[in-house]
Symmetry: D2
Subunit: 419 residues, 4 copies
């Protein structure tokens, strides 16, 4: 059971600080990249790649922009050769032709990234490089293709099979925990004491995905409350003086009340779907008393929609607000048929269903402004997520519980008549 | 220092055995693959991918061949569309066109492999899948393109930056050690006692590269002896009763006397180059007394060349054999200019130089048959490997020590006159 | 969960090899001990204690005997002062008098042992020292008191609360596993392959107690087979080709078929009692299917007793042998009322009961010679062990199952009439 | 290197929460203790001991006092029997008599404590029990003998050889770090940010001793600053904006600026002496640039002495204050000849010497009140600590550097004439 643990020599994570560098000899970062792409670069490997990464790290914003343009332009596809090679392979189906075609079908910058990644610790620097790139995209849209290459590589490198799910608790290293504080995007963590209240009690859990090449950087994490029954108020759930904590074995419900992505540079590489399901699987195995797996989620655009519909008056009562929330989440769609609400898109797309809506559930300033205080539980029934997703993908009606369906009906019957 | 270690929860490596499977419902492995490539496959993810892997594992040889043909043919490139997309992007340089082009520039089987790899533990199964494939290549050469795709993916996944260097010693798990016994390809390890003699003494070291997704599978390992002076006999080096072992801190030389690749399914993904250099770096740091890093290497094709040259008589004396070995390694070339000897190609290509040759150095049956008992030390001087490689790549003279150069001169002066 | 693991810096176990030594300056080991007992010894601590341990390690047998006599005599109790101090404290009950009394109530050699034990790694050397001492006891019975002091110290140091239970499996370090092979005392392990058959299959387990100060030395270990039903043959249980292994979750019975103490120097410090109960607790928690916890134990002195009783003829049939075994284990007693059979004394004293006896259960040469091939299952019912022990300690009838009781009755009815 | 780490199964530290308890059946804690001391208690072991510990934990202060009196009185020595046994052994020197004597020479409460300690996790509870006891000692001095027994046991259990030295850094578990904040006794740590400033910079170190049976409880820790030259101001050393941190390899001096004991229940078990020396050894090995190991220590009673001497005027200038500090630390003695200053007693007793004194070194309110802002460096030269200690123990002059000696001379020449 400790093989993977054993794998991780003490030396590993620190040593890269002391990696041998190749002398720069006045070469620009672009020259260094060209050298790294030669056969010599393949052999000198880590030393030259380290020099490239150092050179990149020393660039200012202008230098980075120039560098990105170099990658996007100089190391772009040779489309003419690619077209020819495609034709040649189409004609021959010969392995040699396939090899040539595949070499041309990938811009050299992808091989460059792989060679930079030879340096222990480089993965994190490449994720940062994409971060830097994303800051330039709006002003330099021609760099979008470079961003697509990063995304393509990261999808392969950050494949689910390479990720490790780790509990985050009060025994976790401070170095990790301070990142949890920093990255929490849904319900801010105000202090270390606040963090402890989310991690240490017997009825709280937190899990994160990590990648072995970035062991001190959580990629995404989810915070979980173990409860009796499905909760309808985030403030009550997180209250400082919520009284005695139940023992985990007494809980019947696991509530995913906050999910946060940590790495801007990994935008577009989706982990959340796997994370919720994996955590639900694991918790269900360790705590057989758990029968219900739900979120307690915000409805960020509810009030905007209510105003657009001119139904503010109805939203003034708790029941009215609940009806409208149910209606909005079930029926309000974007032109492409997807739910209008972004959080709904995520969970329904993952195979969850609408389970319950609550008024007065998030009385924070932000919660009141966005949704009039309403929140929603999405239910994850692991035996049905694949089926639910299928139905959702095929454009069927949003799957919802009986309560929700009833609320929707009521809301529809009370809809303002068109003038 | 324990973050990566912490990363590795006990649960991780075992749990995948219990991953939820999607019901097969009579689908063939090919159908399952097609499903996995749909958006539904993306969401049901691990469960469906597990079912695919199970289905593959249940195939017999014929089934596997059919499956490989399916991958090679049905999930091949659409060359016509690819040609069009290349033309469109060439014309527009538009991001949308780039995206379409990149999607077409990769056969779907690569995405399929990435989706199969979502399952914890799948990486090892995919490496095995390529193994299975390699057994079919000679009879079904049209599968070569599939093999190229595996190789392309594995190059990305097994990037040096993702590998972890680990010492292998007598405290390593038996599960790992039995693989060291099985995989040793140069000087066979006959028993656990023999293994202990290679690992436990104070003047022996062994290191392996591992990938975090296959923590109990060494990828490549190197065995090292710490000595005073450069040794010239493998039998003496490995002798059971070689007397008192020197303390590591007394050694001035590290001898890489055996390097073995472990994973047939990773053929063509070169690790040896990095391994030797990394181990030399690390040993040099931990044991400042070490000044010389050499191999003690076989010369597999020496006798064959000597016979071809008709110089067997000369090879009968130790000095004659040494002269011929020096000459052969320095001067005998393949039509493409590369050294004839495969081991020489590897080490000289990595930037090592010819340091010394020894007669009577490998008196085993195999050693006598291949090289008349001669062996060679390649010297790794880390401050010069990049330069040496460069010279080698540019086709310059093979770099060699003064002793070797002198031997070569003598050998040339004694060359048989052409009749 | 990793705090204790984190505790264990890489440095710890190796570093003591490099502990600073105080110069010996020609002092004898006895002089060094006297110095270590002064206040200076308290401060120079590890350095002086290391010198003492080195000096001891360099002694030959004669030197050790002299040293043990020094400990037994020179560092013995001052009985006169002790008597006076006891009287003074009896009169005053004053804390100062108590302090003086307690200081005199312990021979100085105990404090000496504690000071030697300051050196990391010393605990193992002190256990070895007692080993050396035990070799002298028969020839030098006056050293028995020194042995008692070791035992007293070790009871405190190797207290159950300080021991760590660890699974031993095929992922354990070879360094540990070779000790399992060496220490197995009941059913010898012939080779590494044999060891693997005891550790790797899904229906096998092994656990050992360790002490944190001797992390590479198992103290005692137990081998367990997971079965359906209670087995009645050790050869079948250990057979090389016993067919498909059941999955652990299918088993209803855990069979403790071998328990071995590892450290001669810890003789008299009983671990077996705790080990069986702890392993039964843990297995029961991890594998809820397990309902029965039994041993499969030898009956070392059965044939001797049968011969003494003159009932060899009866023992010739399986049924006869079973009856006699049941009778022997239940009724044959030593003068002090304890069971005659040593294994029975151990398990019955721990609160187990006689569950079943089997003929033809150990057909090895040793098994046939000792017990005519009979073996016995002792049953551990954790909810009853305390009560069973109580009854046993109070001299009640040996607790046994109905089958055993019936066999005893039959055996008694067939007892040869006194002539 | 991972054997000790491997030792520490995940299960270990958590599992004791779920230890089986023996039913209490209305027994008082005193009855339970008596039962635990019988042979039955030896076998039922962990279960009964757990019940005892639970029963103790449920006592209120009055109940605890009653319990302590029970231990002190009912489980006290039988002095009459002890006297007889001493006489018998003195006469016979027979092993049997020795055994009886040793059994009587220890009060039963020590065996009771060892049996309670069978429960995993009990060690910490027993340390707490002594804490509780210490609160009663002033009001119930007759319990002092019980306290002596705890101390005796803990000296054996917390022997230096059983302790593990661990770095404390920003990767340590929050659970440990919050204890560092709580236990820091010299220069308070105000917040997690403050803590990070003491742990994370490249020129800061912290080390603690732990006991394997209490893995989440530091016993004592020392904070270290790596500097160029010996510092003379604690505020500068700890300043938030002290500028760029030097790299550890550049430092020539290690400054032990704070040592804190963590466990009140281990009062009188000295760890500080070993800790400083061990940390100095380890740092010296890892950072060969370190040549000087000093403290930066308070002089808690300096101003009190100055006032008693009537030399306040002199203390008003930095030079005057330094002279007086040097004089005080070198010459001011208690009636027993030991230095008057408690910190000086500790470090000089450990073999350190007076190295330098600084005025304006601690300008905090407390620092000004205690010592007028003066601080002192004690120098640890590991090659001389044993010799220095010896001289100190033999009552020789306090060992001091030339600077200190010169200051003392000046101070003496300026001493006020007796009227």
């Amino acid at each position: 059971m400790s093989l993977l643990a054993d794998l991780t020599s003490t030396l590993f994570d620190r040593r890269y600080l002391r990696v041998r560098r190749e002398k720069r000899n006045g070469r620009s970062v672009e020259d260094l990249c060209n050298d790294l792409l030669t056969s010599r670069g393949e052999v000198s490997g880590v030393a030259l790649a380290s020099t490239v990464l150092d050179a990149y790290a020393a660039l200012d914003r202008e230098g980075r922009l120039k560098f990105f343009r170099f990658l996007a332009t100089e190391l772009d596809l040779d489309t003419a050769a690619l077209g020819d090679a495609a034709a040649a392979y189409a004609a021959s189906h010969d392995p040699g032709d396939y090899k040539r075609l595949m070499a041309l079908a990938e811009p050299k910058r992808q091989e460059l990234a792989r060679r930079m990644n030879q340096v222990p610790g480089a993965t994190r620097q490449l994720v940062q490089m994409r971060c830097d790139l994303m800051d330039e995209l709006s002003a330099a849209p021609e760099l979008a293709r470079l961003d697509m290459d990063f995304r393509h590589l990261f999808k392969s490198w950050f494949n689910r099979g390479f990720l490790v799910l780790r509990p985050i608790n009060w025994e976790s290293p401070a170095l990790i925990l301070e990142k949890i504080i920093a990255y929490e995007a849904v319900h801010a963590i105000g202090s270390w004491d606040d963090l402890r209240r989310r991690l240490q009690p017997s009825d709280r859990r937190c899990f994160a995905f990590f990648h072995p090449a970035m062991p001190d950087e959580p990629l995404i994490f989810v915070e979980v409350a173990l409860t009796k029954g499905v909760p309808g108020s985030i403030q009550k759930l997180l209250s400082e003086d919520r009284g005695a904590h139940i023992d985990a074995s007494e809980a019947d419900t696991a509530v995913f009340y906050s999910i946060s992505n940590c790495q801007k540079g990994l935008a577009g590489i989706s982990f959340g779907n796997s994370l919720i399901k994996q955590v639900a699987e694991d918790l269900g195995r360790d705590l057989p008393g758990l029968k219900t797996f739900v979120t307690l989620s915000p409805i960020p655009t509810l009030m905007k929609w209510i105003r657009a519909e001119g139904r503010e008056a109805e939203a003034a009562t708790p029941e009215g607000l609940r009806r409208l929330a149910a209606l909005y989440l079930s029926e309000a769609k974007r032109p492409n048929g997807q739910p209008m609400d972004p959080v709904a898109r995520f969970h329904l797309g993952n195979g969850a269903i609408l389970h319950e809506v609550h008024a007065g559930a998030d009385t924070s300033g932000n919660g009141m402004a966005q949704s009039g205080g309403a929140m929603v539980n999405y239910l994850y029934d692991l035996s049905k997520v694949a089926r639910n997703h299928q139905a959702f993908a095929e454009g069927e009606k949003v799957a919802a519980s009986g309560q929700i369906a009833a609320l929707v009906k009521q809301a529809q019957s009370q809809a303002p008549k068109a003038a």
